[in-house]
């Protein structure tokens, strides 16, 4: 009776996130990156994805989380956007989970600033909370470029 959604999940620190699986182009291991001086802080650099140049965005920085430790190479979640593919850097990739679309609840008001605009809502799973991100908002960096 109720609709289900498939979400691609990953972790950032202690948090468990999901994005719509249809938005995901592919998931690739950590790539060598060329940084872009003067670019907004959340942009980690450019990667070569089979001849295509893809911008890599650090989700930790985008969501205002502390930087990940250097020993933990991030994973690239490449998503579709109207402006071509963009890679989101996450800590660890999880399973694709199926959730009941009706189970989406609004994010609590206590969620902090940077994250607030990009979180669509929260699913209560059995063992933990799954935070649903709005990919189109994630790649929309606030202007003007925030100073680090």
């Amino acid at each position: 009776m109720s609709e289900t959604r498939q979400l691609c999940t990953f972790t950032l620190g202690d948090f468990f996130f999901g994005i719509d699986v249809l938005k995901v182009q592919e998931i690739i291991r950590h790539q060598e990156m060329t940084r872009v001086p003067l670019a907004p802080e959340a942009i980690r650099g450019l990667i070569n994805l089979r001849g295509q140049i893809v911008t890599a965005l650090d989700l930790r920085s985008r969501l205002g989380l502390p930087p990940r430790s250097a020993s933990l190479p991030p994973t690239n979640v490449v998503i579709h956007t109207p402006d071509g593919p963009v890679s989101l850097l996450v800590d660890e990739i999880g399973d694709v989970v199926e959730v009941d679309a009706a189970g989406l609840t609004r994010a609590p008001d206590t969620v902090r600033g940077a994250a607030r605009q990009v979180i669509t809502g929260v699913f209560r799973l059995k063992e933990r909370l799954l935070i649903l991100l709005d990919t189109s908002k994630v790649v929309e960096l606030p202007e003007p470029v925030p100073a680090p």
């Binding site: 003067l38 942009i43 450019l46």
Partner: protein
């Protein structure tokens, strides 16, 4: 007829007709100037004939009617019934204008428009008239008539398929019989019996007119193509039309292939497998050839654009009552299609401008001792991976004073800027929007719009434009444009551990700065790093600092023991970019950056290097603006053109302007200044009764300026830092403590008053103020 087919047919008609009309104008002008080839009239006839036929088929009755009238006249001309008069040429040119305007309206709005072309039609009709009654003036030198001529013509270019007899057999080909059977030898040579030809033409013309009504139209135009093709050369037969979008896609794919090739080549070098290596080499060769091949398909000779110019020159000069002869050199020079499109309009504008403002009226030319007829030269050639297009006239040239005055009046420049602006820079003021030096606005130009647009358009495709002019003898505009945009040669450099690509178009030269030896290193003027390169002060930008790759303090100017300097050109000015390492040059494929980076103007895109990593492509102009090397006072004074500097140095001198305190100004010839330094006063020490400072591993004696020049006030010691002019001679150096270095200027003033032997050479007026000229021999004395 299906609407989409109709649409397609109209699109084809437009493309074909515009091309055809350009050819038409070209041939017609050749006939006018007497340089026409034997086939000219046939070409002209066929163009109009095709337009008429196709338009009739598509129900475009206006176009068809106008074309038809012209065709009748042309037919008479071609058959030798009449010979071309200037009036006739003008009328025929108007015909192509009328057709163009109708076609354009068709293109824009889908209808032929409702412009009234009846005056033209009656003019064309009138021009045909005299011949029937009066014209058989011609003698009959050609004994054997049409038949033998037909033979000879068919024997030569056309294969047996279209023997005239066969064509004639189809009856409804009547209309097309003419082009095949009445070939070029009949013009302008007179014809034995002129009468039959006009008559022969008349019925066919009549049937053409009937076509306008409707039904026979299809057969007329259906008949047209084969006859058309038969008359054309083989080259045209073997050519096909390809959608540019297809070519663009091919070009992109080749770009990908080039990248993959680069990666494989690099890998093959590492792996050391002989089979892989030889395969990679083959791949390399094939890819290069493929790249060249695909690029070639997009190349067009610049002559394609130029075909319109004889016409434009003729019309504009006639309108202005001037006599201009157009010379075109290098019309076979090839350029990428997209670039050809982009320069078309700017070129037309420049040519019109040259005739209007550049070339004088015949009377004034004669008075100036020049030939009555002005010369306009279009020249195109390849140079260093770029295409250079020059538009040169032998006209009056540009009066730099007037340009300056005008720019000053409009508040575009300050009086100081005007005073010290070299002519060459003043010329470039004409590229400012809204600035026109034309005394009166003409129909043709002078409204002050245009040259800025020209410049913008040229720069948009990565080109540059400069203007050279000599008063009284002419003006040359030189446009430099890249061959293609997708794959460009670039210089790969490293700074702060990152690789960057710099498009070679902007590259002027590479300089190794060696500060370890005696040579001068990077100096600081006004806190801005500069480098002295052949009598020029080059403003510098440190790539790593500009991009914030290393903390700004880590790279203080002057502290490097050696660095790599890349002299770049942006917006007609030069500056130096200091990088850690210069790697090599490479063909790179330009890829756009994501929109996220749109605020970063210092990047032009990105590319993938041979090792598979991404490198950013620097936007030289954006970088220069970020580093402010083109706008500040240093750049103003420093960015003097090298050629000019060389010629100027003989009689002009660069001067360092010093505010000596108490409102007095002093100028020191820059040639006697080795270095400008700023020291903290706390570092000053005393030795042997003199003030000294430890400097570059030695002891530099310091002398206050007022010790050398009497009557100067004591230098103010208001700040913690002192500005010092370092002068060296005979292996000794001395530092002159000066008040405040304000500027570097070129001495313009001639009203130099005599000195009184008190350390001053005299006085002069610079930037509207009296400045004392310092005697540099005093420096020399103080050093010893």
């Amino acid at each position: 007829m299906d609407a989409s087919i109709q649409q397609q047919l109209i699109a084809d008609l437009l493309v074909e007709s515009f091309e055809g009309l350009d050819r038409y104008d070209h041939e017609l002008l050749q006939i006018e100037s007497g340089t026409a080839g034997a086939d000219s009239l046939n070409v002209i006839f066929r163009v109009i004939h095709t337009i008429k036929g196709t338009a009739g088929c598509l129900g475009l009755s206006h176009i068809q009617r106008v074309a038809h009238t012209g065709e009748n006249l042309l037919d008479l001309l071609r058959s030798g019934g009449i010979s071309a008069s200037p009036e006739m040429i003008s009328a025929l040119l108007k015909l192509s204008d009328a057709l163009r305007s109708m076609l354009r309206s068709l293109e824009a709005s889908g209808s032929e428009g409702d412009a009234d072309h009846s005056p033209l039609i009656s003019l064309l009709d009138r021009l045909q008239e005299p011949l029937g009654a009066v014209e058989p003036i011609v003698p009959a030198p050609v004994a054997s008539p049409a038949s033998s001529v037909v033979q000879s013509q068919c024997a030569e270019p056309i294969p047996a398929t279209s023997a005239p007899g066969a064509d004639a057999g189809f009856g409804f080909f009547d209309d097309d019989l003419a082009p095949v059977q009445m070939p070029e030898p009949l013009f302008p040579a007179p014809v034995p019996t002129p009468a039959p030809f006009p008559e022969a033409a008349a019925p066919s013309a009549g049937s053409g007119a009937g076509a306008a009504a409707g039904s026979p139209a299809a057969s007329v135009s259906a008949g047209a193509p084969p006859a058309e093709n038969a008359g054309r050369s083989n080259a045209e037969d073997s050519a096909i039309r390809v959608d540019v979008a297809h070519l663009d896609r091919l070009m992109n794919l080749v770009g990908e292939l080039v990248l993959a090739r680069n990666q494989i080549l690099q890998k093959a070098g590492v792996v050391q497998d002989p089979t892989l290596l030889s395969t990679a080499q083959r791949l390399n060769v094939i890819t290069t050839e493929l790249q060249e091949g695909v690029m070639k398909t997009r190349m067009q000779p610049i002559g394609n654009v130029w075909t319109r110019f004889p016409r434009i020159v003729r019309d504009v000069s006639a309108e202005l009552g001037k006599k201009v002869r157009l010379y075109m050199e290098g019309r076979e020079t090839e350029l990428d299609r997209t670039i050809i499109e982009a320069i078309k309009d700017p070129l037309i504008h420049i040519v019109r401008n040259a005739i209007d403002h550049g070339i004088e009226s015949p009377e004034r030319r004669v008075a100036a001792g020049k030939p009555e007829e002005g010369a306009l030269v279009l020249r195109a050639y390849h140079e260093g991976g770029q295409v250079i297009i020059e538009i040169a006239d032998d006209g009056a040239g540009i009066n730099a004073e007037k340009v300056r005055a005008r720019a000053l009046r409009d508040g575009r420049i300050t009086p100081e800027q005007a005073a010290r602006m070299p002519d060459r820079e003043a010329f470039n003021l004409v590229f400012l929007p809204g600035l026109s030096t034309a005394e009166k606005i003409t129909n043709v130009s002078g409204r002050g719009v245009g040259m800025d647009v020209v410049k913008t358009n040229i720069e948009r495709i990565g080109g540059s434009i400069e203007l050279l002019s000599e008063l009284g003898s002419g003006t040359t505009l030189r446009i430099k444009i890249p061959l293609t945009l997708a794959i460009i040669p670039a210089l790969i450099v490293t700074s702060g551990g990152e690789r960057f690509a710099i498009p070679q178009v902007s590259l002027v030269e590479l300089v190794r700065i060696d500060t370890a030896g005696e040579g001068r290193g990077i100096e600081s003027l006004y806190g801005a790093p500069v480098y002295r390169l052949r009598e020029r002060l080059l403003p510098l930008a440190m790539l790593d600092r500009e991009l914030g790759i290393v903390p700004a303090e880590a790279a203080t100017p002057g502290s490097e023991t050696g660095s790599n300097l890349i002299v770049l050109q942006a917006d007609g000015r030069q500056f130096g970019l200091v990088v850690d390492e210069i790697n090599d040059t490479q063909e790179i494929v330009v890829k756009p950056l994501s929109k996220i980076f749109r605020s970063l103007t210092c990047y032009a895109g990105a590319t993938i290097m041979g090792d598979g990593r991404v490198a950013l492509i620097l936007d030289v102009l954006g970088l220069a603006q970020r580093a402010a090397v083109l706008s500040d006072a240093t750049a103003q004074a420093a960015a003097v053109d090298p050629n000019r500097a060389a010629s100027v140095l003989a009689n002009r001198e660069k001067l360092l302007l010093i505010e000596a305190g108490g409102g007095s100004r002093l100028a020191i010839p820059l040639s006697s200044v080795d270095r400008l330094e700023e020291f903290e006063r706390s570092r000053f020490e005393w030795s042997g009764g003199r003030q000294v400072i430890q400097y570059r591993g030695g002891i530099l004696p310091l002398v206050p300026l007022n010790r050398l020049v009497p009557n100067l006030p004591e230098p103010e010691e208001s700040s913690d830092n002192a500005q010092v002019v370092v002068h060296s001679s005979g292996g000794r150096s001395v530092g002159i403590l000066v008040g405040h270095v304000s500027d570097i200027v070129e001495e313009e003033g001639s009203e130099r008053s005599a000195g009184d032997g008190s350390g001053l050479l005299g006085s002069t007026v610079i930037q509207g103020r009296v400045v004392d000229l310092f005697d540099p021999t005093r420096l020399h004395l103080s050093a010893h």
